[in-house]
Symmetry: C2
Subunit: 544 residues, 2 copies
Amino acid sequence: MINIDEAVEAIRARDHYSAFAESPSPRVYGEGAAEVGRAAFDALLGTDFAVSTPGAGDRVSPEVSPYGLTLAVAYPRVAADAIDELITGAVAGTHRWRDAGPRHRAEVCVAILEALHARVFELAHAVMHTSGQAFVMAFQAGGTHALDRALEAIAYALAAQEFHPATATWTKPGRKQDLVVEKAFTPVGRGLSLLIGCNTFPTWNSYPGLFASLATGNPVIVKPHPNAVLPLAITVQVCQQVLAENGFDPHLVTLAVERPGDGLAKDLAVHDAVKLIDYTGGNEFGDWLVDNARQAVVFAEQAGVNAVVIDSTDDVDGMINNLAFSLALYSGQMCTTSQNLFIPADGIDTDQGRFSPSDVGLALGRAIDELLGPDEKAVELLGAIVNTQIPTLTERARSYGEVLVESRGLTPPAFDQAVIRTPSLILVDEDSTAYEQECFGPVTFVVSTSSTQTSIHQFIATVTKRGAMTAAIHSTSDEVLAAMREAALDVGVALSENLTGGVYVNQSAAFSDFHGTGANPAANAAYTDLAYVANRFHVVQSRR
Amino acid sequence: MINIDEAVEAIRARDHYSAFAESPSPRVYGEGAAEVGRAAFDALLGTDFAVSTPGAGDRVSPEVSPYGLTLAVAYPRVAADAIDELITGAVAGTHRWRDAGPRHRAEVCVAILEALHARVFELAHAVMHTSGQAFVMAFQAGGTHALDRALEAIAYALAAQEFHPATATWTKPGRKQDLVVEKAFTPVGRGLSLLIGCNTFPTWNSYPGLFASLATGNPVIVKPHPNAVLPLAITVQVCQQVLAENGFDPHLVTLAVERPGDGLAKDLAVHDAVKLIDYTGGNEFGDWLVDNARQAVVFAEQAGVNAVVIDSTDDVDGMINNLAFSLALYSGQMCTTSQNLFIPADGIDTDQGRFSPSDVGLALGRAIDELLGPDEKAVELLGAIVNTQIPTLTERARSYGEVLVESRGLTPPAFDQAVIRTPSLILVDEDSTAYEQECFGPVTFVVSTSSTQTSIHQFIATVTKRGAMTAAIHSTSDEVLAAMREAALDVGVALSENLTGGVYVNQSAAFSDFHGTGANPAANAAYTDLAYVANRFHVVQSRR
């Protein structure tokens, strides 16, 4: 059983903490657990998914697996004329949920996580076959780590709501007699919450907002990306089951699936009843939400240009291997993958002599090849390319500079329907404009600069303009490290310093690392801090 | 010396807590303290006020005292072409302020409060002669209670920033060896903060935002209401002195005074550098800020229609006397003064028999007269009318219904230049539209309804549409109390129940009562909760 108070302690201590074991090994999850989960996933294929969506009419099966598997899972579709019925149904259980109070809400939310955890292998296959993540990554990032992020959000929600007591006696000493007033403080949800999911991390990027809103008393409509419905459909199904088991309206969490092109997210986002929106995705729609969904508080994670400033190192092998892993993982399709490696044109000092920008790029290419191994192994790290635009973008990037490392297409027999690509490295000059905006997918720019000082300057310029979820520095100089820390504080981006071991710039650990800061254009919020939860409820007082 | 940790405990406990004694008595503040403060205030009149505002050019003396006193204090004026220089100066000290860290910032902020407290009599006269508050009220609401609200905001800011440790060691157990990462978490201010003050409560309504922003690492430009500059000028002067004494840039807090009609607040509010805005005032400009200052987070307290639902009472004298005081205080010019008294047409049960709506109104009129006493005493409760529109509005309100109690103009000899008015009570029917919007000043509507149920219904309808800072209920029925509590939670307004003693619906105590909720149109934020501070800074992390 998960102890929510331990989780609350963990968000404050920020040491390692996890409630969900990340290894899918039978030693951890038991013999046969993986097979049962796989069978449960297989059993969903080609069926009508069991979830209750008020107002839904016909069914829709929008998903295409990046691995070529035909999912053909049919979900209730919410057409434009069904939105009011959906919203009426979604908010119907709000009072009872409010009256349950913060702690009981947290307990029910934790029960949802435990029920989801019981289906983590099934969930992992759903994430794998919608996002294109490799299985182990889908199990971790899409399963156990997503559950940890959810628990973290629930812990913040509880801590923020319990920051004030539910009741207090106020006694003001008086000359004749004391003034005594009994007071009650009730956290009340801001209102209906809309979650707009993304394709690459349908659970990891959705769970914080979903559970932060639910735990603070708000009903949540879950609107998945049309290509990544199943992981969130399973999630909503479990939410509905556990809510009902605990005597709450299952429609406190609902699934709203559209036929591609319906524009459902827009219609929902500007509805008067929607007071909170959590969004992960491209800038265009994110900016549209912020500009148009004025009745709601919008938490948006958008695109950025993540950067690594490479100045010097006393462990060039460690640095190269660490960077190689971070670039290869999920073919660079993480919002945290480094895009720009800033390296002085005259090279960097290392324990193996001087490395020019090209030397670094070529060493990275060799390290990636070695890391990936044969094609049938490589796919376990690379996963599949999530959408058809990415190979085009990757191909186009070749023209932006000198191709140091080509992106190769792999076709291991077991995944002959998938598009699988290795990372590419393109050498560009600091004057190039190519690296100044996000180039999503397996493309990294080695940016040759006139000095480390210029590298930091370009890091500041690009992140100020386009934002970043991550930044890293490699340097043996205390002055350079201090300058980069100052720069990272100025532009408001999390900084990783001299990572050469088993911690990677593109991975953030729940309960310890903040994902995003809210302080630069890549995201206006962080997973998870007080600002992420404090605006999701109000405190309404009474006194007598 | 103020103990900030005690203040942090107090915001969590919500019992009575105050760091600044509210009685101006010589027994508390010492013989002669009042006279010294008055002399300090007098010495300011007709002088150039000593405050440093980068970019300021000529001087301007915009204030007219509601009591007729000629202030003629001249402040540096910020013209439109000086804004960039002001902003450059305001942000120059940000890095050093950030690097000081949350606790040292809190200590410096507390030192500012202590220095302000040392000038509290001077400050009280400044508040009195700009807002029109009577002296004792100006001393309390404008002085000690404002300082308590400031300390409360500093305590929240510190608690929110110290919610996470400054550094942590992350140790993830590994099979071969543990993964160990050293992490640092730095609260970084969101950016330049703009405070737009109001006329009626130049300090009480400004201090929470000013100190919440400053304590979370943000420089603050203080833009006072043109009629109420002096209290905030003294405040900025003290901020600059204490900041400089502690080695910080005094321009972290600056005073921006305009010539009436300059439109300075608008120009500042939409400047790219401004990331936070605190505003108290009318709906028109508040709505404009929210719509146009899109680069900033706007905390706005606007107008509302505060309500009292009167159903029954077992202490009609206590109820009437309590209501009478709350209506008379500052001639109803508080944002928390009740405007609408909803009473069933067939009357209410009391310990003295049945009271019709007219009976309640007439009893209130008698109680107000008795409370006020002779004119020279009455002014000590009523204060002066803050602006020339109010008598016009009060006169106009006479036509909306039956005048139960006339607003009288008083002319005590000592204040022969002031406009002083007693509260009026106008009987209207529930179908009237007069009471559905704010009628600022000494006007209260007795709304005759078909039943208490209708009263609650109209309370919900008016507050949903126009908002409210306060609500109250008088009832001996548990069912009615429960229904009203539910209604108050639904519309998101703080509720006072059966107040018959020395606690008044329009007064809220720092550290215990939340002023506003953020959940209805009267205000989008509360003084003070976590949401009020959590968005004023970001946490930026580094790890190695």
